[in-house]
């Protein structure tokens, strides 16, 4: 196989020039890159906000900001990281770029709708972030917008709510687009169970996006109505029920965790077999467990509310289901390990990220089970332990898989190779910093340090210093990774068609791909 003579998608001259050739392009690959650049920009903002929090916590008492600013910072950190980065993250970037290629299609089913999704994403992000620049205080509710505080606070919650609502639309439309694409556009011969695993996880994700996101959409609208029209859906003073808000919020926001993690698992399921030089172990089991996670994930939202006031029956049911949903995730871990077993493992940058994903994901998952046990949950609720747990899953899981993916597919996206030495250095620095940042927080949580506080008792000082120090190391790793990729995209060596020896369709077409991916739609045998 060699690179095609046709112009690739980056060189292709369309109707528009300059930046308009990007922001009005309906090419799924360009849209994927639009998402990559916008999400990375927001990620840098979110990471800086996180770093500011760690800087504040480096010593007890006021270090660099007041309690009020700290509340605003963790709120914006949460909103940016959740709604702008990890929820769209992998599906919008890699899903857009590679889903059509992996199933042998020229584009997604609705290319214009796809572009609209990106525009909605940008508009939603602009609205959400505008809350920072308006008169009045920036939002201080936390990303969860819990009632009744979210309609009592004087801060600019309204733009944040409306921004999140618009972002929800973008997410729904992407999911809808992907489902129809997979139903209607698979290449001839590619049956459902011949589809690679990354598309399968996108399929599960897309259904959650479609069926869970509207619930948060309407819930956020109801909070808007509370603030603007004075309708007391969730206001106890007006007859409403604040716990009902929590239910509705988590009916979306727990499945949203699976929106984040399933595509991450898909990326890992692509990377591991390629570098173990082996077929994935238990393809069917991975597919079925993906769908099971998507399904069972709907029914566990109550475990966020063990201390909020629920009937004992529901407590037991939610705790039981939480343990149940761990099984399909464990099946996947088992399959990945079995794939590595007796494989001819080649350790390259994407593989480093993938195996460290397994490590952090395991810790995140097991600490999730700790929190799923009711009695322990009462002790650990709203402590640093919870923060550590979900950063191991959401940042460890999604972040590591994202970096595995970008280092895996980079040669295909840009047609250039990156500098492997710097990439590996970035990984080890980042990995070390990550562990140093979040591991002490498990201890802090057990010792009783609550989350979302800008201050703590002197006994917690040492662990906090470790954690803040870890944050600096991790950011240093991040800077190395980003600079390396940025430079390599410009000046890297030319990439071959299949630099890693991957077996899926994207490694049969030229790097970078031509405008509609395939000169001829492939037939799958």
């Amino acid at each position: 196989m060699s690179n095609s003579n046709l112009p690739n998608y980056l060189e292709y001259k369309g109707k528009y020039k300059g930046i308009f050739a990007w922001i009005f392009s309906t090419d799924h690959k360009k849209i994927g890159l639009l998402y990559l650049y916008s999400i990375m920009s927001f990620f840098i903002v979110g990471a800086i906000l996180g770093l500011l929090m760690k800087l504040e916590l480096i010593a007890p008492g006021k270090t660099i900001m007041e309690a009020k600013s700290y509340n605003a910072v963790f709120t914006m950190h949460g909103i940016t990281m959740i709604f702008l980065i990890v929820v769209p993250g992998i599906p919008a970037i890699f899903g857009n770029f590679f889903l059509p290629i992996l199933i042998g299609a020229k584009d997604v089913f609705y290319p214009k709708l796809n572009l609209l999704s990106w525009w909605l994403y940008i508009i939603g992000a602009a609205i959400a972030l505008s809350s920072q620049f308006m008169n009045g205080a920036s939002p201080d509710t936390g990303w969860t917008f819990y009632a009744p505080y979210s309609f009592r606070t004087q801060s600019n919650v309204l733009p944040a709510l409306i921004g999140a609502f618009v972002l929800g639309f973008s997410s729904i439309l992407t999911g809808l687009n992907f489902i129809v694409t997979m139903h209607r556009m698979r290449a001839p011969g590619m049956g459902w169970f011949k589809m690679p695993l990354f598309p399968w996880t996108l399929y599960g994700t897309a259904w959650i996006q479609l069926l869970a996101t509207p619930v948060i959409g309407i819930t956020l609208l109801m909070v808007v109505a509370e603030r603007v029209l004075n309708i007391g859906f969730f206001d106890p003073a007006l007859g409403g029920d604040p716990v009902l808000y929590q239910h509705l919020f988590w009916i979306y926001s727990h499945p949203a965790v699976y929106i984040m993690i399933l595509p991450a698992m898909g990326v890992i399921s692509e990377v591991i077999p390629t570098f173990a030089k082996k077929e994935i172990f238990g393809y069917n089991a991975i597919v079925i467990s993906t769908l099971l996670i998507a399904f069972v994930g709907y029914f566990v939202w109550g475990h966020h509310m063990f201390t909020a006031g629920m009937s004992e029956t529901s407590l037991f049911a939610f705790s039981f289901l939480t343990f149940l949903v761990a099984i399909p995730s464990a099946i996947k871990i088992f399959n990945w390990l079995a794939t590595l077993y007796k494989g001819s493992i080649v350790l390259k940058t994407p593989m480093y990220w993938a195996v460290s994903f397994l490590f952090v994901f395991m810790i995140g998952g097991l600490s999730g089970l700790v929190l799923g046990a009711m009695a322990i949950n009462v002790h650990l609720h709203d402590t640093a332990f919870v923060v550590s747990h979900f950063h191991f899953i959401v940042f460890g899981g999604v972040g590591f898989a994202f970096f595995a993916g970008i280092h895996y597919w980079f040669p295909k996206i840009y047609g250039k190779m990156y500098d492997a030495w710097w990439a590996d250095t970035g990984w080890i620095v980042f990995f070390f910093g990550f562990l140093l940042l979040y591991t002490p927080m498990f201890y802090l949580g057990i010792a009783g340090m609550p989350r979302r506080y800008y201050d703590y008792v002197p006994e917690f000082h040492f662990a906090n210093i470790l954690s803040s120090f870890g944050a600096f190391i991790m950011i240093a790793g991040l800077v190395i990774i980003i600079i390396n990729l940025f430079r390599s995209a410009k000046n890297g060596e030319k990439a071959e068609v299949s630099p890693w020896g991957g077996q899926t369709l994207e490694w049969t077409i030229s790097s970078p791909p031509i405008l509609e991916n395939f000169e001829e739609i492939p037939e799958i045998k």
Binding site: G14, K106, F233, G239
Partner: protein
């Protein structure tokens, strides 16, 4: 927008997309139905009393209007398949007019309520209890959101009329019209649930 290379026509696929969108819409309203259910459970008597304030006649008339409009849009889809473009346009126009009548009724209905001082945050409502306040809050929010969907549906139908006239929608290529029909039926079915919940259970 850049390249028109994606000009493939896939009737089944487009319809699938519309159905998925309808699922989304149903869950969107589903959240409201949950809030309604919980609120009603907690304030049963106040909800029954408040429902007496609503005008069952207007509600019934509007239900009939929407049911007829669903029938006319379904007929328009059949008539485009029979290559009767003029009849299609006529039936779509009737649907559109019925939508307008629905909104006019709604306008007078809301207007009368607001004249009586029944709106969220009003002095009159504050004299009643929390249950009544919640009932009217939900009433305005849910029927208001539904009216917004009626407006979106009417825009959709208006575009369809133009496209049938231009010949862009015809007997071999009518999936957009069918999707407009699906959407209109969705708007209809949501009303079918709103009507008894607000007007009839008194």
């Amino acid at each position: 927008m850049e390249q028109d290379t994606h000009d493939h026509y896939d009737h089944e696929g487009s319809k699938l997309g519309m159905w998925l969108f309808i699922f989304t819409e149903l869950l969107f309203f589903g959240g409201l139905f949950i809030v309604y259910g919980v609120s009603r459970y907690k304030n049963g008597i106040a909800f029954s009393m408040s429902a007496e304030e609503l005008d069952v006649t207007i509600g019934t008339v509007n239900t009939i209007i929407l049911l007829i409009s669903s029938a006319t849009i379904a007929m328009s889809i059949s008539s485009i398949q029979m290559k009767k473009a003029k009849l299609t346009i006529a039936l779509l126009s009737v649907t559109l007019i019925l939508g307008i009548i629905f909104l006019i009724n709604k306008y007078f209905e809301w207007g009368a309520k607001i004249d009586h001082g029944l709106y969220p945050g009003s002095d009159v409502l504050q004299q009643f209890g929390n249950g009544e306040t919640l009932f009217f809050g939900l009433y305005y929010f849910m029927t208001g959101l539904h009216a917004l969907h009626i407006i979106i549906g009417m825009i959709f139908i208006a575009v369809m009329i133009v496209k049938v006239r231009n010949g862009k929608i015809h007997a071999d290529r009518f999936v957009q019209l069918e999707n407009a029909g699906l959407y209109w039926h969705l708007v209809d079915i949501i009303w079918i649930f709103l009507f008894p919940l607000f007007y009839l259970i008194a």
